[in-house]
């Protein structure tokens, strides 16, 4: 019998956002209407978010045809053409691009994402899932597991890059019978969605990672702290937990061993600071999510004052691979100090935004230009914000910087959870710093003086600068505040919140000075500093007059128009309306 054809619709949040659900429904409808002998499945995100909704057609012979932009409107066509007619719809086929983008990647953490059905434990097992757990339980002592993880050089993928093996050992060695494993799935950086993608696309890899961690540190209870804004990830993990339990991978005496382990999901209410581990613990305990000073570290006194090991989703998803393939295989990737791979979320003014996983140490240029295909619209690259709102912004001359934990810190940025926001010449760096600081200010828990008031005051100065109201004293105060907030804040949020300001001051200081001294914003972003005028190219067509929301443009037909500066609200509508390039923005 001919092998059945499988259709997989990418139904991660990105796919669903692009209309994947409707695509899936359409397939379902047509397949059942026509009683087609086709398997319809879902899968996670493979990282090519710009192609969503994506559909993979797996023919019986092992070939995979990937299609992009399959909306409900062209499902019928695809079925007719490819599934029934056997004709590849080449204009929608993205295999070539997929190969191009993925061939430069090393997919360990994302090994199953976009390839397997996340709701199917069988699919996970078929792809090598739970093999590592079996290996651990049957052949390794907890110490050997920790040795293996230590040897792999795996470092926390949540941002700080703390060696995972070290953390596990510290937790194991802390006195006490009751210990906990906590998975931090409170991914809060704007533009970062690695953890969400993994949780949605390969939830079992996280569960398996936590199980191995639990076994290693001597815990039999784990908590997954996940933000409530990730409903799909929560559903997928819930399903994974139920299935794992049914299959005896979770619960009492796992796989017949002495090891028992239970996992619970705790939904976070979306406070960014709860991604900080001590604040996360406070929140888990039902308290106000505020960080406490370390030490004591969670490994000593964590959840309910018991030794607790906290890793993030991506870290856990690496664990089964390392155990299965061996630490040595993992160290083949990455640098001497930072082994393995890292997932990045490429966003901003980039051609191919999405998730990529590359060996640590890959240069920014390779990631942005080779994999991400460069800047949109052929514009000039200006900078890249690394590590989320509390990371730093690196300029063009640092494009060859290898992306690893230590080099980035040295340059003033940080790896963070892997957010990479690319900016072109239309980005104002002061405005960018203002944007990120506005985020961190809002997300400060309000506990320590430096963060609560420092971020607020820095933001106020940045606003003054963007409004052209700041003086050079304000700039020095901004710098003084930035340094002090970095040094004086209690937790990572405050300690890193000034980074966007500090790095832009380091690499783009002239932009600040221009705002302050010349009252100009070269990127033409800071509205207060812009003036709109009409030049002689104006033919008096009146298009701008009709679009102006405040009637700030005067002029007779077919004569040169003028803008009344007092009325102009600098909305930019006239620029869009003018077909003659006659509106001058300075």
């Amino acid at each position: 019998m001919e092998k059945k054809i499988t259709v997989r619709v990418g139904l991660s949040t990105c796919g669903i956002a692009a209309g994947g659900n409707k695509t899936y429904e359409k397939f379902n409808e047509i397949i059942s209407d026509r009683k087609l002998n086709i398997n319809l499945e879902i899968t996670g995100c493979i990282g090519l978010c710009y192609h969503e909704p994506m559909v993979d057609i797996l023919t019986g012979d092992g070939k995979v045809f990937s299609y992009g932009a399959i909306t409900e409107d062209n499902v019928a066509m695809l079925i007719d053409e490819h599934l029934i007619g056997g004709r590849v719809v080449s204009n929608l086929l993205i295999n070539e691009d997929k190969d191009k983008v993925t061939s430069k990647q090393v997919r360990i953490s994302l090994r199953n994402c976009g390839l397997i059905n996340p709701d199917s434990i069988e699919d996970y097992i078929k792809n090598g899932g739970y093999k590592a757990l079996k290996k651990v339980l049957s052949t390794m002592t907890p110490d050997e597991v920790i040795d293996e993880i230590t040897a792999s050089g795996l470092r926390g993928r949540g941002g700080a890059g703390f060696p995972t093996g070290f953390k596990w050992r510290a937790t194991r060695q802390s006195p006490g019978n009751q210990k906990y494993v906590v998975c931090n799935a409170d991914e809060g950086d704007p533009g970062a969605f690695m953890d969400r993608s993994i949780a949605e696309g390969d939830p079992h890899s996280v569960v398996e990672g936590m199980l191995i961690s639990g076994y290693a540190i001597g815990a039999n209870e784990g908590h997954i702290y996940i933000r409530a804004e990730y409903p799909l990830a929560i559903l997928r993990i819930q399903k994974a937990l139920e299935d794992a339990k049914k299959s005896k991978y979770l619960g009492e005496n796992i796989l017949g061993s002495d090891f028992s382990f239970n996992l619970k999901i705790k939904k976070g209410a979306g406070a960014f600071v709860c991604g900080e581990e001590t604040a996360l613990i406070a929140s888990l305990e039902g308290k106000r999510g505020m960080p406490t000073l370390k030490p004591p570290f969670p490994a000593q006194k964590g959840l309910w004052q018991k030794p607790t090991s906290i890793n993030n989703v991506e870290t856990f998803s690496n664990v089964p691979w390392i155990i299965s393939e061996g630490a040595k295989s993992y160290t083949l990737f990455g640098t001497a100090k930072s082994a393995g791979t890292k997932v990045f979320a490429l966003a901003g003014k980039i051609n191919k935004g999405g998730l990529v996983e590359v060996p640590i140490g890959t240069s920014l240029r390779e990631i942005i230009f080779d994999i991400g295909d460069g800047i949109q619209g052929g514009k000039k690259f200006k900078g890249v914000q690394l590590g989320g709102p509390s990371g730093g912004c690196l300029p063009e001359n640092l494009l060859d910087t290898p992306v690893d934990y230590d080099t980035l810190i040295q340059k003033g940025a940080m790896m963070g959870s892997g957010g990479m926001i690319v900016m072109d010449e239309t980005t104002c760096m002061v405005d960018m710093a203002r944007f990120f600081l506005n985020f961190t200010k809002d997300e400060s828990c309000g506990k320590c003086v430096h963060c609560r008031l420092g971020t607020k005051r820095m933001l106020e100065i940045l606003v003054l600068i963007t409004e052209g109201k700041a003086t050079s004293e304000d700039l020095s105060l901004l710098e003084e505040l930035a340094v002090n907030v970095k040094e004086g804040s209690l937790c990572g949020l405050g300690q890193t919140a000034p980074n966007p300001v500090l790095t832009t001051l380091r690499y783009f200081r002239h932009e600040y000075e221009e705002h302050i001294t010349n009252k100009k914003c070269q990127a033409k972003v800071c509205k207060a500093l812009l003036t709109y005028t009409i030049n002689e190219k104006c033919i008096g067509c009146g298009a701008c007059v009709r679009r102006c929301p405040v009637n700030a443009i005067n002029g007779e037909r077919r004569k040169l128009h003028t803008i009344v500066p007092e009325l102009c609200v600098k909305c930019g509508n006239c620029v869009d309306a003018c077909k003659f390039d006659a509106i001058l923005v300075e």
């Binding site: 506990k447 430096h450 002090n484």
Partner: protein, 1237 residues
């Protein structure tokens, strides 16, 4: 554990591992500032002030939360750290909205605490107000008359209907003092034998002399003129400042010991060098500026032209100054006004002012200008003299007309001449009052002058070019207001004192945050009250002579006007740590500007919350949750929008708040303050006295803070101490205007005020008659546990030795439920041991009755001690204990008996202990073996498993402690609990035994001191001959050997007419008892506050409160603690005075003993109080001189412990509730305020 070595600021230190840097620093007296740390909690680490530098660390770390490690090298005050702290403070200040001091205080050149004394005046505390004024100036009467009052210009009330009349009030305070019998004389510090010369007796010199003298230095003033006072005397006319006021104020300064030598002119009669040689340790030059400035116009040297100051001075020096009929005064300042008004009074028909600018620019005080106009003075404005003409004397003044040009740099519009516009005035005298210079000709050889011809000084230290010579006043500033000179004199005194004491110069801080941008529209909800108006003489009367124009306001006016104060300055100004640190680190309140929050002040009957001043250190939230357990406060919102608020943003009084005020104590800023029990609160530096709380048996140590005759605040003695709402806020009865302040006797059916002796004689006469007619035992005495041990001892002695009866009892006397077992009716262990025990069973310890005990128990429980809480209702402690056992009171003896039975049945008794120390165990055992646990507990909700759990916990615990509330728990239950301790041998040792929580502050002392019909002090039996003899010998009197009547018997006795006379000391019985007591032929009542009983009495004697008494209380934890009086007794009579008056009136030949003598007597007679005399030098001693009852000692004194079979049928609570008048007054106040505590 091995010690580790660290280095802080260069000092090598050893410390215990695990300690934080802050703890180690504090142990070694190295101060690290912090705003959010408290020993109560784990570090919160939010404020960022305790940052320190650690070698090898790139960034500063928080000392509060960083553990030390071997070899650490730490710097706590490096420049980097100082800058970091400064910035952290500036960040806090950027959202801290408040005035540290009121604008009035800030506006005053002397920073005189106007708000403080105005508020005292508003509270009717005039003398206290004057005392406060005198902390800033010795001459308030003079200043109150002449000051231009910059305070009033900045007064926020000025934005509404007019500033508070600060100057009038100050003047009134001084006038009251001057007219009273007993002027306020400040205390003088011990003589330092340092000599200081002050040159000049004007406001600067007088002020410096006054403050230097107060510091104990000997001060001599040298004055050039015949009389002292400087410009106040020679520059200000009598009608503005009557010289009798100045004379009076100077005489007070002289009474302090300041010597004034007049007619001693510097440079003529002596030199600075001479003074230095004469051995003066420091010299203050305050010679003023008296020489009138010249106008610089032709003809001004003609006779008939005189300087303003010279003219005024001549008034005093030579009487017959002839000025003629027409006088022109040139100038627009106060001296010009004084000169022109004086001229008018001297008979000038026309007196005019010639001034080159307009009214608006005139520097004279508006009131002076106004009064001058009223008096018919002519004003020629925009007129400038150009020459003076005359034949041998001035006859005409020619002036140029002026107009005002553009404002100059100083903002004043410069006058410009109008060309060719001249005006002439025919005159007899011209007075040039355009300013004065320092007369420096005589002294410039010795001392350096600056280009303005004033003495040059270091602006900070007031030091002149000569070492040890300081200068101030007009001689430095040029002519200025008197208050400026006063300010200079006071600051100079501080500096000079530091100079001669060789201390480093340490001028008081000057950090002040200020609310900007307040306008009339921001002052809402304020009822308008008109400003006080100063009554003045009518102009025609004024011109008759030099009588004072302003007549002064009345005290009633002052009270009203002072009440208009808007209370701008922070209540916490003297205690605020934010202010202190901001000062130390020179933080600038406005360095970081940005949006600020504006919250409404929240007022609770006892607590004021001003969120505007909160720095979110979180201490209040944590103390409320973790120490108190009330969780009434919480952090709301996140980030910049975070604030501290009561649960659900309800008013605090509607939350779980128990009004204990711990949040107020712990708040480092002015965000939380006591709602002071006065009409007009302000920040005052109060008198503080450490004492012991007079409410419950917990016996907290307190600090009583007073001003005048009022208690304003009570705080815990130590900064980390705890108090409950009663201890902290329950003192208003002391200030109650209704206090009984005089003895009263009933004549013709009415109570009349009499002297104490008369009252005592009245009582004595009646008592003697009754004794003669009905015998000694027709008299009875009832007393309360509110009295000190010494007072109770005296009452007891009065009863036995003077009245000759043993009919002595207390309404609140409790039987001794455990004395058969423990020997005495006293706790076997101290509170100090609570935290060290590993298991506590607390039964009937009502959290509402003993909130502080509940806090101690919470702390102990959270530290790991297994706390079993037995109560009949949920409380704030029930959620924080190991197990909460909800047992109805009636079932408690059954439950405790069940535990006892379990222990016996399971053979967990300590037989060695039993054999050695216990009697009656066999009966108990056979009873226990016959019992069924299930039926013992059938009335409770507990199961047999519960009983096993508690019993096992007792068995396993090494140091189990029982805490029994004697008010709530029936005596049988208490006895069973003691029996449990006894049969396990877990009593009579440290940390093992039973603590009996007594209801009132001295319930323990009451029984100790023999307030009993059967016991003498120290539980010695009356019917024991040896004991009785001991007392007879000591007191030198024959005592009644028969036991007296118990409380119930006394009441019966009155009802049946056997008891004829009753003395009631501090008791306030219920209605039924009251009606019985009314039947007595003689009813004598000793009380603080009027009660129904006192109204029914034949004689009422005034009682002193615990804040007015000296002595000791014995708490429930065996501590005999000292009481120190914070105030004199309201009536002037201490309780002992009253008792001795009675004793002496009844002819007992007993001289009044001092407290020390009395304590010696008690020590001789009562074995457990053998060491009570040590209280002369200690704050407390232990009962029987031991924190616990030692088993060997116990059986040696009292024989073996006697056990009895529990009576489980007898379990109802005994109710004999009564309210002491003080408690009643407080609880009435609470219900008035709507608090249910």
């Amino acid at each position: 554990m091995e010690k580790i070595k660290i280095n802080i600021n260069g000092r090598e230190l050893t410390a215990n591992p695990g300690q934080t840097i802050l703890e180690t620093a504090r142990e070694n007296d190295i101060y690290v500032p912090t705003l959010c740390y408290s020993e109560h909690f784990e570090p919160y680490a939010s404020c960022g002030i305790c940052l320190v530098e650690i070698e090898g660390f790139p960034r500063p770390l928080r000392a509060c939360a960083t553990a030390i490690s071997n070899g650490m090298v730490i710097r706590t005050e490096s420049e980097k750290i100082k800058k970091a702290r400064k910035l952290a403070l500036e960040l806090m200040l950027s959202d801290h909205r408040g005035d540290c001091r009121g604008p009035c205080v800030m506006a005053c050149p002397a920073n005189c605490d106007a708000q403080g004394y105005v508020a005292l005046a508003a509270n009717g505390m005039f003398r206290e107000a004057l005392k406060l004024v005198k902390e800033f100036m010795p001459i308030p009467g003079s200043i109150g008359r002449v000051c231009p009052a910059p305070c009033e210009k900045d007064c926020r009330r000025g934005l509404l209907e007019g500033a508070v009349s600060i100057r009038y009030i100050k003047r009134l305070l001084a006038d009251i003092d001057m007219e009273g019998k007993d002027p306020y004389m400040p205390e003088i510090a011990p003589e330092t034998h340092k000599r200081i010369a002050v040159i000049g007796s004007g406001p600067a010199g007088l002020t410096a002399a006054f403050f230097l003298r107060r510091l104990g230095h000997s001060v001599t003033i040298f004055e050039a003129l015949p009389q002292s006072g400087g410009m106040l005397r020679y520059g200000i006319p009598e009608y503005r400042l009557p010289k009798r006021v100045l004379d009076w104020e100077i005489s007070l300064i002289e009474r302090l010991g300041v010597e004034i030598r007049t007619n001693m002119r510097l440079g003529e009669d002596f030199t600075i060098n001479y003074l230095k040689k004469a051995g003066y340790d420091a010299i203050y030059v305050a010679v003023g500026a008296q020489s009138s400035k010249k106008m610089g116009v032709p003809g001004e040297d003609l006779p008939g032209v005189i300087g303003g100051a010279d003219f005024l001075r001549s008034m005093f020096l030579n009487s017959g100054t002839s000025i003629g009929k027409r006088v022109a005064v040139v100038g627009g300042g106060n001296v010009a006004m004084d000169a022109v008004r004086t001229s008018k009074r001297l008979g000038a028909k026309t007196a005019m002012i010639i001034y080159r600018r307009s009214f608006e620019e005139m520097p004279a005080q508006a009131i002076e200008v106004h009064e001058a106009k009223e008096e018919g003075i002519e004003f020629h404005l925009l007129t400038a003299p150009v020459r003076i003409q005359g034949n041998g004397k001035a006859e005409k003044i020619v002036c140029q007309k002026m107009e005002l040009g553009k404002p100059d740099a100083s903002g004043r519009r410069r006058p410009q001449a109008i060309p060719d516009a001249f005006v002439e005035f025919e005159v007899d005298t011209i007075i040039a009052a355009i300013g004065q210079d320092v007369e420096f000709q005589n002294i410039k050889e010795e001392i350096e002058f600056n280009k303005y011809n004033t003495i040059s000084i270091d602006q900070r230290t007031f030091a002149t070019s000569l070492p040890g010579v300081f200068a101030g006043g007009d001689a430095v500033t040029g002519p200025d207001d008197a208050i400026v000179a006063v300010a200079a004199g006071r600051r100079a005194a501080i500096v000079i004192d530091q100079y001669i004491s060789s201390k480093s110069l340490n001028l008081p801080g000057n950090f002040n945050s200020k609310i900007e941008g307040i306008t009339a529209s921001s002052l809402t909800d304020i009822l308008s009250h008109p400003k006080a108006s100063m009554p003045v003489l009518e102009p025609d009367v004024r011109l008759q002579g030099f009588i004072e124009v302003e007549l002064g306001i009345t005290p009633e006016q002052a009270l009203k006007d002072a009440s208009r104060c808007l209370e701008c300055g922070c209540l916490d100004s003297f205690e605020c740590k934010l202010r202190e640190f901001s000062d130390v680190y020179s933080a600038k309140p406005d360095k970081i500007k940005g949006s600020m929050h504006e919250y409404k002040k929240a007022i609770h009957p006892f607590i004021i919350r001003e969120q505007d001043k909160c720095i979110l250190c979180g201490l209040c939230v944590k103390v409320c949750a973790n120490v108190v357990g009330a969780e009434a406060l919480g952090l709301v919102n996140r980030g910049f929008e975070t604030y501290v608020g009561p649960s659900l943003d309800r008013p605090l009084a509607e939350t779980t708040c128990i009004s204990c005020g711990q949040c107020v104590s712990i708040c480092p800023t002015g965000a939380l303050n006591e709602n002071l029990p006065v009409d007009k609160p302000a920040a005052w530096e109060l008198n503080k006295v450490s004492s012991t709380c007079g409410f419950c048996g917990v016996g907290c140590r307190i600090q009583i803070e007073t001003a005048g005759d009022k208690v304003l605040r009570v705080t815990p003695e130590s900064p980390t101490g705890l108090l409950c709402h009663r201890g902290r806020f329950g003192f208003s009865h002391i200030n109650d205007p209704d206090r009984i302040s005089s003895p009263m006797i009933r004549t013709d059916g009415i109570l009349k005020l009499v002297e104490l002796k008369a009252a005592a004689d009245f009582v004595a006469a009646k008592t003697k008659t009754i004794k003669a007619l009905y015998g000694n035992d027709s008299i009875a005495v009832l007393t309360s546990p509110r009295y000190t041990n010494e007072e109770l001892y005296l009452i007891q002695k009065f009863t036995r030795a003077v009245l000759g009866t043993n009919n002595l009892a207390s309404l609140s006397e409790h039987e001794a439920p455990v004395s058969d077992i423990t020997g005495f009716d006293v706790s076997t262990n101290s509170y100090d041991e609570v935290e060290a025990s590993d298991m506590i069973l607390a039964a009937g310890v009502d959290v509402k009755d003993y909130p502080v005990m509940a806090m101690k128990l919470r702390k102990t429980s959270s530290a790991g001690t297994k706390l079993y809480l037995v109560d009949n209702k949920d409380s704030i402690l029930s959620k924080d204990c190991h197990r909460f056992l909800n047992i109805a009171e009636y079932s408690s003896s059954g439950v405790f008996a069940a535990i006892l039975v379990y222990i016996i049945k399971n053979e967990n008794t300590n037989s060695a202990f039993i054999n050695k120390y216990i009697e009656g165990y066999n009966d108990l055992e056979s009873w226990a073996l016959s019992q069924d646990i299930g039926s013992l507990i059938e009335n409770s909700d507990l199961s047999e498993k519960d009983i096993a759990d508690i019993a096992e916990s007792f068995i396993k615990a090494k140091n189990p402690l029982i805490i029994a509330g004697t008010k709530r728990l029936c005596s049988e239950s208490t006895r069973i609990l003691a029996t449990i301790s006894a049969i396990m041998g877990k009593i009579g040792l440290p940390r093992r035994g039973i603590i009996l929580m007594k209801e009132r502050c001295n319930s323990q002392g009451l029984t100790d001191m023999g307030i009993s019909s059967v016991n003498l002090p120290g539980y010695q039996k009356i019917e024991d001959t040896d004991s009785l003899k001991k007392f007879e010998a000591e007191w030198n009197v024959r005592l009644n050997p028969k036991a007296g009547l118990s409380y119930e018997e006394i009441i019966d006795g009155i009802n049946f007419g056997r008891i004829k006379a009753v003395f009631v000391f501090g008791e306030n019985p219920d209605q039924q008892t009251l009606s019985t007591l009314r039947k007595a032929e003689l009813l004598v009542v000793h009380e603080q506050l009027p009660t129904e009983l006192s109204q029914a009495a034949d004689c009422v004697l005034p009682a002193a409160s615990f804040c007015e008494s000296e002595g000791s209380y014995t708490n429930s934890g065996r501590k005999i603690q000292k009481l120190s009086p914070a105030l004199p007794p309201k009536s002037g009579y201490s309780n002992q005075d009253v008792f001795y008056a009675l004793i002496n009136a009844l002819n007992f030949s007993h001289k009044k003993a001092s407290l020390a003598q009395l304590r010696h007597e008690i020590a001789r007679l009562t074995p457990q109080h053998e060491h009570i005399s040590e209280l002369e030098s200690k704050d407390f001693i232990y009962w029987n001189d031991s924190p616990y009852s030692d088993i060997e000692q116990m059986v040696k004194e009292k024989g073996r412990m006697k056990l009895a079979v529990p009576d489980v049928t007898l379990s109802a609570m005994r109710e004999r509730t009564y309210k002491d008048s003080m408690l009643k007054r407080y609880y009435d106040e609470l219900s008035e305020k709507g608090l249910n505590l």
